[in-house]
Every structure is written in structure tokens, then in C-alpha cells.
């Protein structure tokens, strides 16, 4: 164990692989020292596990109606109570975690690479390419995100898939800005020139040498944006524009519980608490990642 630690913390690593392992070790050590970041990692980890094992974890079916059990307060049988159709709210929240995770992952998978590529291309080529791409980016950045997402859903039609597309369309500009800024810092450095002299094509330089260096700051930003994405998705669900019934989407569940908020408070309150916990988890995790991976950005949100 001590020899492994010595190997990881060596001042002069013998190989690239040892240096990378050592860096990963140092980063995870720093990360583990930040209690809030660890809490965030645990919350996000639990979300992933719950989403994967939802059918085994949920005590009841998320869509199984039981009208004799409608609007029951939280009890030993139904920990979080039941809704207006007698469905177990805990089971619905557990299954709803799949939808939340799906939205978050899909938005990240669509918008992060899109933003990365646009930003890296703009920064790498410079000149008119840069000017035009960044003008488009700035237009998107200077518009209200939620309203644009609403307008896109209005044109595309309500539904989970369209909600994901609408959110992704409004999320990418921030990543393009970051990728461009990162690219500019090493655009003229010698290793890029070296690769170019070896005859690498522009595609190859951007794909293999520019993009990988932009990834860590993008990951931080994506994680920090997750809370906002979850809130926007829940907002679309609340308006009836996201996932459609009987899907147990958390925002839609709050919307249905709205009519009972005064007497059966748990119907709307419980999914809201789930949203808050998961969003806070992503905030903590993002803050922690930023402190560890990119100390320059601290407090700059």
C-alpha cells in the first residue's frame, strides 16, 4: 500500500501512465477533502443507482392505480403517501428518476459536444470563422433560455423528446464560449505547431489535440448547469409540455398535485423535494469539481 502511494506521489514519474495515475490520485485526494463535494457525488451516485434499479427498488408499480387508496397521507405502507389515482408517490419518484437522468444525460450528450466543436473550431481557425460562429453563439447567449425552450417546444410539440431537444438547443452556447476561450490559450503553442508540421489535418489537430484539452472545463460547466437543466425540464413538465402522463415525471407530478396542495400537501411537495435534493447534489458536485480541476475559476460563476 505504501509503495503504491509512493509510486503515485513520485516527484519524477518514469512514464506518462504513472504521471496520469499520480495526477488522478492527487485530484481525488483533494476532492475527498471537500465534504460538500463528496455529498454531491453521493447524491448523484444514488440518483444513478436508483434509476438503474428502479423496478427492484420501487415498492409498487408507478402507474398502478388503486382508487380505494387515493390521496392517502404518508404512512408505513406508502412512505410518501399516494396521489389522486391511488398511485404510490415513492414508487413514482423512484421511476421518475429515470426520466430525470435521461433528460440530463441526453442534454449533456447533445449540447456539450456541439458547443465544444463550435467553440474549438472558432478558436482554432480564428478570423471570420471565429467572428461568425461567436456572433451566433452570443445571440443565443443573450436570449432568455427558458422562454426560448418554451417557444421551441411550442413549435415541435409537447413531449419528452422535444423537451430534451429544446433544452439542448438553448444549452450549447455556454460550452462554445468555454471551448473557444480554452482553445485560444494554447492555439499558438508549440505542440500544436509541431503536430501541424508533421502534416496533421485540421480535423485531426482539433479532434485529437485541441478538444481533449477543453474537456475538463466543459465537464465542470456541464455539471454546474445540471441543476438549471433539471429545473427547466421540471418546468416544462409542470406546464404539461414535457413528459406526458402517465409517465412519472417530477414536474408533471407537482402540476397534478397543485389542485390538492391545501389539503393533501404531500402530492406536490414530495416530487419537489426530490428535484431540490438532486439539483443541490449537482451544485455541490460541480462546485467541488471546479475547485479541484480548475482553481482559477473559483467564485467566478
Amino acid at each position: 500500500m505504501t509503495s503504491l502511494k509512493l509510486w503515485l506521489t513520485a516527484d519524477a514519474p518514469d512514464s506518462l501512465w504513472q504521471a496520469q495515475a499520480g495526477q488522478a490520485y492527487a485530484i481525488s485526494r483533494n476532492f475527498a477533502r471537500n465534504p460538500l463535494a463528496m455529498l454531491g457525488a453521493v447524491i448523484v451516485g444514488v440518483l444513478v443507482l436508483v434509476a438503474i434499479f428502479a423496478p427492484w427498488l420501487a415498492p409498487y408499480s408507478p402507474t398502478g392505480q388503486n382508487l380505494s387508496m387515493r390521496l392517502m397521507p404518508p404512512s408505513a405502507e406508502n412512505w410518501l403517501g399516494t396521489d389522486e389515482l391511488g398511485r404510490d408517490i415513492l414508487s413514482r419518484i423512484i421511476h421518475g428518476s429515470r426520466i430525470t437522468l435521461l433528460i440530463v444525460v441526453m442534454v449533456a450528450v447533445i449540447s456539450a459536444p456541439l458547443g465544444l466543436i463550435i467553440g474549438a473550431v472558432a478558436g482554432y481557425f480564428g478570423g471570420w470563422t471565429d467572428r461568425i460562429l461567436m456572433a451566433v453563439t452570443d445571440v443565443f447567449l443573450s436570449l432568455p433560455k427558458l422562454i426560448m425552450a418554451l417557444a421551441f417546444v411550442a413549435a415541435l410539440g409537447a413531449g419528452l423528446q422535444n423537451a430534451i431537444i429544446a433544452i439542448a438547443v438553448t444549452a450549447w452556447p455556454a460550452y462554445a464560449r468555454i471551448a473557444r476561450a480554452e482553445t485560444l490559450t494554447f492555439r499558438n503553442s508549440e505542440f500544436i505547431a509541431a503536430v501541424q508540421l508533421q502534416g496533421a489535418s485540421h480535423m485531426r489537430v482539433i479532434g485529437l489535440h485541441v478538444l481533449p484539452l477543453c474537456i475538463s472545463s466543459t465537464i465542470i460547466r456541464v455539471t454546474l448547469d445540471m441543476a438549471g437543466i433539471i429545473l427547466t425540464a421540471a418546468g416544462l413538465g409542470f406546464l404539461g409540455l414535457g413528459a406526458q402522463p402517465p409517465l412519472p415525471e417530477w414536474g408533471a407530478m407537482i402540476s397534478r398535485g397543485r389542485s390538492f396542495i391545501l389539503d393533501q400537501w404531500w402530492v406536490a411537495t414530495m416530487p419537489g423535494l426530490a428535484i431540490i435534493i438532486i439539483s443541490l447534489g449537482f451544485c455541490f458536485l460541480g462546485d467541488g469539481l471546479r475547485d479541484v480541476l480548475d482553481p482559477r475559476q473559483r467564485d467566478g460563476r
Partner: protein, 352 residues
Amino acid sequence: MIAPTLDSILRRGSLLVAGSRTALRFGFVTAMTFLGLLAITFFIGRVVPIDPVVAVVGDRASQAVYDATFIEMGLDRPLVEQFALYVRDVVTGDFGISLSTGRPVMDDLIRFFPATFEMATFGILIGVLLGVPMGVVAAANAGSWLDQMIRVLGLLGYAVPAFWMGLVALAVFYAGLGWTAGPGRIDIFYDGLVPTITGLLTVDAIIAGDWVVLKSALSHLVLPSAILGFFSLAYIARMTRSFMLDQLQQEFVTTARVKGASEWAVIWKHAFYPIRVHLITVIGLSYAVLLEGSVMVEIVFSWPGIGNYLTTALLSADMNAVLGATILIGTVFIVINRTSDVLYHIFDPRSR
């Protein structure tokens, strides 16, 4: 004797030129952003829907109406020409007819906007009046439990859905404790008692001198504004704290301390003074974001503003109204952001 005067005149002249050049650049960027907004709404309205005419007139319109709208929207012309016509219409305030209200969208927007403006403005007032002192206090006591509490409060601003908070607040403060009035802008029996002059109910009530109406309006306003204020407070407090932390480490602050200034004077006179400029941008941005957030809050509080208008239009597939409201909110958003940029530019000589 003449030389320095001439020199100073020349310098003033070049400053003027630089100033007008900046103004030109700001104007150009603003115009381009606005054009971008129109391009996006044009794209959403004309290119994304399978049949843009149906998106405007609905699927139960007769063939004659359909054909007339087809020509009116210029769909028989090339896309570029369509866009030029679209820009002309929007700039002259013609957003078409709303499918659900049957009135021009522009008239609807003018009718509904004051309610949103009133709520958002009270919200930003709450956010600034509480958020700035909280950020300063947090920075002055960095690391203390007070700082931690303010930090957690700030993070909650990123994690709590506004509509959920509105529901819970209604359940607690209206239904439970009875401290505030419920949804809507005013109690139903006071509705229409004061003449509409500005459209801002509180201002109209003051003009009419009707204190009962004012009280009712305020009691309806306080809850949604406080919720909006909470979300801007979270951001404002966080940013104020980080600006203040920077300033408190500066040498002039130490100098002030050494010269025996009281802690209060050090913090509020010396350290706070330079960050006012940064705060302009922060407050401008939060105000813009808050206008956007008001959409969700308006729905929960049945507030008759743009947000409610927009969502009603969304659910009835009333495309002209949706895009009209989007353009209005987008334009206000751009204007606020640009104004805070310009103010920053004016107040901070270093950025020139």
C-alpha cells in the same frame, strides 16, 4: 499658453470620437442581437412546424382563411424575402392576430406586460435590498456560520423550482397562516375600482388615492415578488460576497484599517465603494433572469401577466401569441443586458 488649451481640446475631441465609436458599437451589437432573436423566432414559427399556416390559424380554419393567411405570411415567396417581411412587421409592431383572444398580439402584450413588470420590479427590489447586505455581511465574516448559512441559501436559489416554491408558499402563508392574499392581482371585489393609467396596480391606486385597493394589491403582490426576489437574492448575494472578498484583500483596505477607520467604515465606505460598478451588471442580469422566471411564478399565482399569456398560448398552439411574447421578453432581456453593459462602461473608466 495656446498649446495646452489646443491639446486639451484635441484630447476632449478624441474622447468624444471614442465615445461615439463605443456608442456605435453598442448600437450595432444590440441591433445584431435583436436581428438574431427575430431570426430564431422566424425559424421557430416558419421552419420548424410542418405547416406554419396551421400553426397560426389552427386546424379548423376554412380553406379561404388558410389561403389568405398563406399569402399574408408570404409563404409563396423565397425564404429571405419572407424574413425581410417578417422583420418589417415586427419592427412596426405587427405580430399578427392571436388565435385565442382574437385581438392583435401587440394589444394583448401591452395589456399584460405591466402586471409582469410590476411583479418583477418588486422582486428585484427585494433581491437587491436583501442580497447586497447579505453578500457584504458574508464576506466580512467569511468562514463563519453566518457565511455558511448565506452560502447554502444562495445554492438553494439554484436548486429549488420556482413553481414548487410558489405552491408551498401559497399553502403556508395564504392557506395556513393567512398572512397574505391568495392568487391573482387583487381581491375580486376591488377589481376595476381604480382607473388604469400606468397599468401598475400599486401606482394606479396611489394616483387614485385609494388606500384600500393599494393594500389589497400589495398583499397580493408580496408573495410572488418575494419568491422572485429570493432567486435574484441568491445570485446577488453570491456575487457581492465574491467581489467583497477581493476588495477586502486589497492594500487600500489595510491602509484604511491602519489609519484607524472603524470596521463599519472600512467595509461600507472603502471596500464597498469600488464594487458598485460590478454590481450594476449583476443586478441587471438578475433583473433580466427574473423577468424570465416570472413566467413560472405567474402560472402558480394566476398572475395576469405575460407569463400566463404565453403559457395559455402555448397550450392552445397559438403561434403568433407565443412568438410575440417570446420577442417581447427577449427584447426586454437584451435591452436590460445592453443597458447594464453601457452603464458599466460609463462608470468604470478602465473598461474604456
